[in-house]
């Protein structure tokens, strides 16, 4: 078929005009020049004494980054890379609205990567914030939800050298730990998943300031539904990791059996996997947790020799260490009555019907659950050296191998 379109020049001109005017008439409603915005990288949310919400925002300081006008060399070191501002309002959006009125350039939230809840706010319930963060199109569900026991403003303005931008640095801190324990990376989406799961117990990473005033990962905060209940220290956090499932690259430190001079044995768990078995009786729920781990030796006590016996001994020690750690963590969770170890969810996955009967009384049942642990650590390699240097030398100058002969 030959195209029947009879093009006349006038028609072409008109079509071009129509297309152009279609674009030009409405104007640019959504234009937002990159110069005219404050890039918010982190939001801190806390509560004032009169139960108002104070929002701390961390903006990129455009003057500090190398720009075209100063050639990228001078004066960038002296200025703060981020600007931290705080506003108070009756709700989060109210406080953020105040930023618009009090800071030149509008707030740009789409690059926000952290939401840092103050401990007070978290304890009084983060449900006030959740809908805002879920609904607002600017926020992405991979931003981190964190809790801090320290003043939010301090954490957000603390230096995280060598990373110039505070929020990026904190995010990296959390991500580094999350290679060991995945649940530490408490992205909004994971928090929401846990919040909506049968167990209803979100976990968020806990960021605090260390003695030098730098942010550091202090453990995790555990929530019963939307209220923060308690925090787990880094050690207890590991226990929670084994309760929950897979972990990687966790170091276990155990004291020396003999004259410990502070060093101790360190075993790095290369990877572990936890199996969960629930035996539902009508009253008494008993749970069985099986941890399988592979490990390598990172450090041995001085003068110790690595032989079959030692290896077996080490793996038993590591296993019992894991069991102890799990027991401690679970004890704490049961005391707090928080199912952060996701038992509820896992029971639901195993037998939805049983869970449906169980769920109304779950909070009272959870502390009574009897749990059996069985950890099995298999040491798969000894790293670069087979024995400690100390074990091979004797005062006579002969090596142990010679002595043995």
């Amino acid at each position: 078929m030959i195209r029947e379109a009879r093009w006349t020049p006038r028609r072409a001109v008109v079509i071009v005009m129509v297309v152009l005017s279609a674009f030009l008439l409405p104007g640019c409603y959504d234009i937002r020049e990159v110069d005219d915005m404050n890039l918010a990288l982190a939001l801190g949310i806390d509560e004032t004494k009169d139960h108002h919400v104070s929002v701390t925002a961390e903006f990129v300081n455009p003057a500090s980054a190398p720009s075209s006008s100063d050639g990228g060399s001078s004066s960038s070191g002296s200025r703060q890379p981020v600007i931290v501002r705080q506003e108070t309002g009756i709700s989060i959006e109210d406080a953020i609205g105040k930023f618009e009125r009090e800071i030149p350039h509008s707030v740009y939230l789409a690059q926000n990567m952290l939401v840092l809840f103050g401990e007070t706010y978290a304890r009084n319930g983060i449900d006030r914030a959740l809908d805002y963060f879920e609904r607002n199109r600017a926020f992405r569900r991979n931003q981190l939800f964190l809790v801090t026991p320290d003043p939010v403003t301090d954490v957000l303005s603390a230096s995280v050298d060598p990373e110039p931008l505070n929020a990026l640095g904190i995010r990296e801190l959390v991500e580094q730990s999350s290679t060991e324990l995945r649940f530490v990376q408490s992205e909004q989406q994971h928090v929401m998943e846990q919040y909506l799961s049968p167990s209803q117990s979100p976990v968020m990473a806990l960021i605090g300031l260390n003695q030098l005033g730098h942010p550091a990962l202090k453990g995790v905060a555990i929530f019963r539904a939307d209220h923060m209940v308690d925090t787990l220290s880094v050690d207890e956090m590991q226990g929670l990791g084994w309760l929950l499932g897979r972990t990687r690259q966790i170091a276990l430190r155990m004291p020396c059996t003999g004259a410990g001079d502070g060093t101790g044995t360190t075993i790095r768990i290369l990877g572990s996997k936890t199996r969960f078995y629930a035996r539902p009786d009508h009253d008494n729920l008993s749970v069985h947790l099986d941890v399988d781990a592979r490990a390598e030796i990172e450090q041995l006590c001085p003068h110790e020799k690595l032989d079959d016996v030692k290896l077996k001994q080490l793996s038993i020690m590591a296993s019992s260490d894991i069991e102890r750690s799990m027991r401690n963590a679970l004890l704490k969770l049961q005391q707090d009555d928080v199912d952060a170890c996701q038992f509820g969810k896992r029971i639901f996955l195993q037998s939805p019907g049983y869970w449906r009967k169980m769920s109304p009384t779950w909070l009272s049942a959870f502390p009574k659950i009897s749990v059996e642990y069985r950890a099995n650590v298999q040491i798969v390699r000894a790293n670069l050296s087979l024995n400690t240097p100390e074990s091979t030398v004797s005062r006579s100058g002969a090596t142990t191998a010679e002595v043995a002969q």
Binding site: V19, P26, D30, E134, R137, R141, N142, Q189, F348, P352
Partner: protein, 360 residues
């Protein structure tokens, strides 16, 4: 005009994009009203609707080869009754088209251009649609063919990248709540989105071999079912229970993508892919409507109604529905029965009347 030929590939791609375009936006949300964990079973039910359409098409093309649906209605019922039925069908097409435009407006307005008035967005899109429809069905089909490789390039990247956040436990346990929510969830995808494929009957005169239309629909059904099911599993796996309250769960699944510091924020890519496929859907619907108008009002060309029709669709999209929720309510609670009466019953009625007439 009978020189125009649509190849089978073109028909299948166009059909696929027609359903997937808005389906990928609306179907997960629709199903999540009833079930989240078993949503993927509901999307699998799409194939039931697809097979239904394929059967109807097979019957229709046997009795009316080289006839569009509106033409067939007029042939079967005579000029006046037939025209009334055809107008009923065209009204259905018009409302469908309005729904699609409004959905697209709301989608873009919510996701990337919040300050732009929705009707402006609709006008933008319709400029492109009008141009394509004006140039004829071949161009629309080739558009569909052209974008296919592009979408096929984007989609797997997005899916693979969002897989990293997927947790298969969100989809388990299967059928924990029984079949009822699954079936309820399937209603919209079977009765609204699958039945939309009947639109093909408007093009059947142009298809290369009209006998193969039914099998093309069948192939398209399989493709669509696979795509939708994959998307749904992925979405539920990534987004989890939040699917129930999120407006655009698939978008949220894609927004979670983050690979290192350099690869993140791919959602606009997704929005762009969706708009592109919705563009195909709008063009196909509008073309079907225009050819219908041509049959009913005995116009010299489908081009007569391209421009004013698009204007009417644009007006209707903003006027028929008071708000975004209204669109959803319409699709969920009016759409199924309306689609059955308009899209499924019309061709069957035409065939029936044709048979009765021939026998008498």
């Amino acid at each position: 005009m009978s020189d125009i030929r649509i190849s089978r590939t073109q028909l299948i791609t166009a059909l696929t994009w027609c359903v997937v375009g808005t389906g990928i936006v609306a179907i997960p949300t629709a199903i999540a009203q009833f079930t989240v964990r078993d949503a993927w079973i509901s999307t699998m039910l799409f194939s039931v609707g697809g097979v239904m359409v394929a059967l109807v098409t097979a019957v229709f093309t046997r009795f009316f080869p080289k006839r569009s649906l509106t033409h067939a209605l007029i042939d079967a019922f005579g000029p006046w009754v037939g025209r009334a039925f055809a107008i009923w069908f065209l009204a259905g097409l018009y409302i469908t088209n309005c729904t699609v435009v409004r959905e697209a407006e709301v989608f873009v307005g919510t996701t990337i251009l919040p300050k732009t008035p929705e009707y402006v967005l609709g006008a933008f899109a319709l400029v492109a649609v009008v141009y394509a429809v004006y140039m004829g069905i071949e161009v629309v089909m080739r558009d569909a063919e052209f974008i296919t490789p592009l979408v096929m390039l984007i989609a797997p990247i997005l899916f693979v990248l969002s897989m990293q956040h997927m947790d298969i436990h969100e989809v388990l346990p299967v059928l924990a709540d029984g079949w009822t929510p699954v079936l309820r969830g399937g209603v919209v995808s079977i009765l609204v989105y699958a039945l939309e494929m009947i639109i093909v009957l408007q093009f059947s005169p142009f298809v290369h071999r009209s006998q193969s239309v039914a099998s093309d629909i069948f192939v398209a059904t399989i493709v669509i079912t696979v795509v939708l099911t994959t998307v749904t599993i992925l979405t539920v796996g990534v987004v989890g229970s939040s699917t129930q309250y999120l407006s655009y769960p698939v978008l949220e699944a894609i927004r979670t993508i983050r690979v290192g510091r350099f690869l993140e924020r791919m959602d606009t890519l997704y929005v762009i892919a969706v708009i592109t496929t919705i563009f195909i859907k709008m063009a196909v619907c509008h073309y079907a409507w225009c050819t219908g108008m041509k049959d009913v009002f005995r116009l010299s060309s489908h081009r007569v109604t391209v421009f004013p029709g698009a204007l009417l669709v644009w007006g209707g999209a903003n006027v028929l529905f008071a708000d975004a929720d209204d669109v959803q309510q319409f699709i969920f609670y009016t759409g199924p029965a309306y689609a059955v009466c308009t899209l499924l019953l019309m061709p069957m009625l035409a065939v029936f009347a044709h048979k009765v007439r021939r026998n008498s």
